[in-house]
Symmetry: D2
Subunit: 354 residues, 4 copies
């Protein structure tokens, strides 16, 4: 089959660059348009971008002309990926959806809209049904799907099997987040070299809220029923490049019979979308590590091209019930990679068609 | 008055170097002997040491001859500071105490001995009374006093006012510890540059246990009554040089009326040893910071020569009752500096005499 | 005597903060005014600044009101220190000089003006005579004195004794510069963590040119006679916080008799301004290190409060004549510290008076 | 064809791990034996190794049994790759060569032996003829081939076209070397975090000498004629993980007509072994970068799987003739990767047969 023609909005930003890196040889998607701010519009992509990915700009992309983010300028697109800043995403993403172009967005703007799926394929693949309740495009062709915050993704993935087996009531989370999570230029080197910043603006409320929407039950009436889970987060920035590490202590409704039972739960996690054989799906969405010193951002964030969430240090807790650490690649599994996986799921489920 | 003649055991190690740096111009103490392993004994100190402090070796120390750690070789000492490795501290420290030389130790070996004070002057200054129950030296002259683990110090200092005001029942703690905490050579650069290691061997049990001894009540019978506090710790290593940062969520017996009340509690913390005017005592043992981005290891670990514990991000918690972060300089406030402050307290209380 | 009343221009920037840190308890100078951009004018200093120094803002400074950089708003100043950006320094600094207020500037704008001293007290203290040729203020009271670029300072200091003894004809220099040299926010952490950037915009021409003006001979006609020294520089940025390290290979006119002779030359360097006993002058402006692994930025940049230039790895070169490395604290010895030392020299020489 | 059966000596070390990572799915070579010290012999590889590569241990390797480094214990090998420490390599490598097993070594021990090729395929592919002069194995089957030091590789590669076109007479080199170059545990994090060490023991003589052997002319009598090139090196360690950066200023016999001519020389570099189509050969052994800020270790060391040497900042020099920077991946292009490429060349040239 011919590939879907995709546009990338916010193509010169850090997330946009990651989209290009991950998509430029994708079997299902073909980059057909690059959208950025007016300042970049009209330039060759290679001239408009301050390329920071550790590979060279794909040659076919380097010579493309950047366009303004206007659906009228990008005819014949099957979908767009959005790496837009929150400051402009609300209007632009809606304009594409209204124009009949599905938007797979990494921006936060529509994440809490009750008709917009906040999607991680391994966590809540059925939430795509919410799309039918959207009103952007009466024809039903244009819609918006979002992925969660870069911490919420690995947190929800690690909580999914625990919640199903035991019920999660509360979690105390500390994050050690890498500098790539702040975009570019992002964190000043003078602030973070040999240092820790014990606060990331706007991050903790997302970590507290988004996993709850992800773990919601889709009711028969098409609405989400949110679980009662209380999450207390302290988000810190540490001098790592890629990969967000989380320490988690979780309170459960039912007690595990043993720590070995919980280990087996993670080891035997059944990926609900495994049957679709999606191109970007990792073989191990969750990987349990036995070495106490693992997982580590620099060594394990890139496992399976950055799509694996590693879980380690699993142990019973003296305060709550269970303690562990989790690691996810923030710009892949927590941003561009999960967005692409979401798009692949939408193809498999028939929401994306040509 | 003439100064106390002090020896430093483990003088070539990282803690020993910090002792020298902090003591070489101390108003009460005069470095009179340097003890190290047989390998170093007989050498000039400057030749025996791989000096890593960011100042030059004090000239008067550089030319001293290193001795083996044997009290018979070091007559006329009034006390020794021990930065010995745990592998050798048990025997050597006891030999000094038996020889009538008080030992102010940073080693872990005697911390849990019920007759040995685990001491932080601002937390439990009366625990020095335990010394009278020791049996190392029938004359009562020689004894051992220890300071806690480098995380337990700032944690106990931050919990002290909370426990007094509200009762602490439990705490979930994540530590972000600097590489200097592992000594020298310590952590391999290949392991920690741009990375986090989510485990530090032997650290978490100390964090769980030592604050409880520190917060114990000294009963009339001379024994310690330990409080029921459950601490769940996850200890991580991050690429910082000095300063351990802690994120803490605490469960309290009584609820604070408001977060402002807790703020005021920290701001008005009354230092129980302030009246002694000890030379190494900081003006602010606990410093409350209002900027969400503070405290930070590289910027605040050295406040008041590394003796201040900074507390920040104070807020009510949705899971337990109170959340905050704390920062302490691990090799000063958490090791050599607190040991020296302990010795100063012992002078003020009359336990150290010439 | 009462202290000189000084203003700090660019007081909220990185260099301005360093000025405040170094001056707030200075024996000769008293901070009487803080100048910054219109955006900050009228605010309390503590509210206007993003304070990045690793100490707390001095309390007396925190509550001062920031003013616009206009001499009319700052009456009764004896001099100003300028940490202004190059984009605004030309006009503002001239306005102060014209108003009769001497300007001790770290900005590059007037460094190459033939009537403006480019000054490092230990290198060219007599160049202050150029002041008399300035025409900013006909009364002679207002003038401008500049200090060199942060690399040119330690380079010129290390070349000074070599040039006097042997004649320096050429030098090949590679710099390893810390991130604080780029100001704040400066270098993005994503660009420099675990990385090297082999280029610093605008830096290499300054390194090639400024040491020549510093090593010029002041002729009887009051003009500078520049030496023929060719400097080839490659300036790189490395992930260090403070301290610029230089590797240098130098071609000499006359050959040293031995490397020991050169060692002795550095060891016996005679500070031409030693007799003034300036408050900020280090005991060792140049310190020769014998350990091959020294000097190191993190361990030695702060020697003598950051005013010492360390020289190490001194050896004969197979290509040119002499090879060595040098280290200077870029924001102290290479910026605010040398500017203050310059002002102290101007007091000692009688150029600054009340 | 069936694959060559290869052994890896020093399999648990840092270079050995890189050999395994690069070889475990190699089209021509199959890992058939793992050799290490007596301490590891008899253990499962996964139990013997402290695995530090940022991928998981290949499953087929994890369960292999480590053997002592004795050719009698490893029958049926076609060749061995040696990542042995210099302290043991002389004897062990000779024992394999004498037993008729070719040794492709990264150790320094035999690099200067006049009968042992010091080989980089793109630089001196004909030097393999030296093998015929070796006397380890009278049958001619066993021999030793070495690769250069990790700095000498990119330096010689960058000098090759310059030497051919203009004649290189001298070079002043400063290296900024990553911590992986020191093996594991290697550099202590306390020594290098936020720091530079201006010395690497034993490194500078290799950088001065090895490129000369690499650029030698193989005379008709089978001996190497070394060129007169004087190299002055200052080797520094910086806090990067992988990739050694070099700044180079070169004196040439003949002057380039223009810098554009030199640019074109690098762009049109003709790889002398391109015709063999070796599996590990990069498409661009030398890649010229135009952006002044490039190449950078973290962003460009891994280009073409770490086998590309990047050259940038090419410009005429005011002191000598030409200045540039070069970057090579030290553990791939400068160690395990070049060794494998050497073995591939030996297959293509018929020196390695089954």
């Amino acid at each position: 089959m011919s590939r879907f023609r995709v546009g990338i909005l916010g193509a010169t930003g850090a997330v946009g660059q990651k989209f290009i890196h991950l998509l430029h040889s994708h079997p299902w998607f073909e980059i057909a348009a690059l959208g950025a701010s007016e300042r970049s519009a009209g330039k060759r992509y290679a001239d408009a971008v301050n390329w920071i990915e550790p590979v060279r700009i794909p040659e076919s992309i380097a010579s493309m002309t950047v366009q303004a983010c206007d659906p009228a300028l990008m005819p014949d697109l099957d979908l767009v990926f959005s790496g837009l800043d929150a400051g402009v995403a609300t209007e632009i993403e809606a304009s594409y959806a209204r124009a009949g172009i599905p938007v797979i967005s990494n921006a936060k703007n529509y994440r809490m809209d009750p008709t917009v799926p906040l999607l991680v394929p391994e966590v809540n693949p059925t939430h795509t049904a919410l799309i039918r309740r959207q009103s952007f495009d009466p024809s039903g062709k244009g819609f918006i799907v979002t992925n969660p915050n870069c911490v919420a993704v690995p947190l929800a993935m690690a909580l999914r099997p625990l919640h199903d087996a035991y019920g999660v009531e509360a979690a105390v989370v500390t994050t050690l987040q890498s500098v790539s999570g702040a975009g570019y230029p992002g964190v000043a080197s003078l602030d973070i070299l040999g240092n820790v910043i014990p606060f990331i603006g706007g991050e903790e409320p997302k970590i507290a809220e988004e996993p709850r929407k992800l773990l919601s039950v889709l009711e028969d009436d098409g609405r989400l029923n949110w679980p009662e889970i209380t999450i207390q987060a302290t988000a810190t920035r540490v001098p790592t490049i890629e990969g967000h590490l989380l320490t988690v202590v979780a309170k459960l409704t039912r007690q595990p019979a043993s720590i070995e039972e919980v280990r087996e739960l993670f080891r035997s996690f059944e990926n609900p979308v495994a049957r679709y054989d999606l191109p970007s799906a990792p073989k191990h969405p969750i990987l349990l590590m036995e070495d106490d010193r693992h997982p580590q951002p620099r060594r394990h964030a890139y496992l399976e091209n950055g799509m694996t969430v590693s879980v380690g240090r699993l142990r019973m807790s003296s305060v709550f019930d269970l303690a562990f650490v989790a690691l996810g690649h923030n710009t892949v599994r927590g941003a561009a990679g999960v967005a692409i996986l979401n798009a692949e799921l939408l193809v498999a489920q028939g929401f994306l068609r040509r």
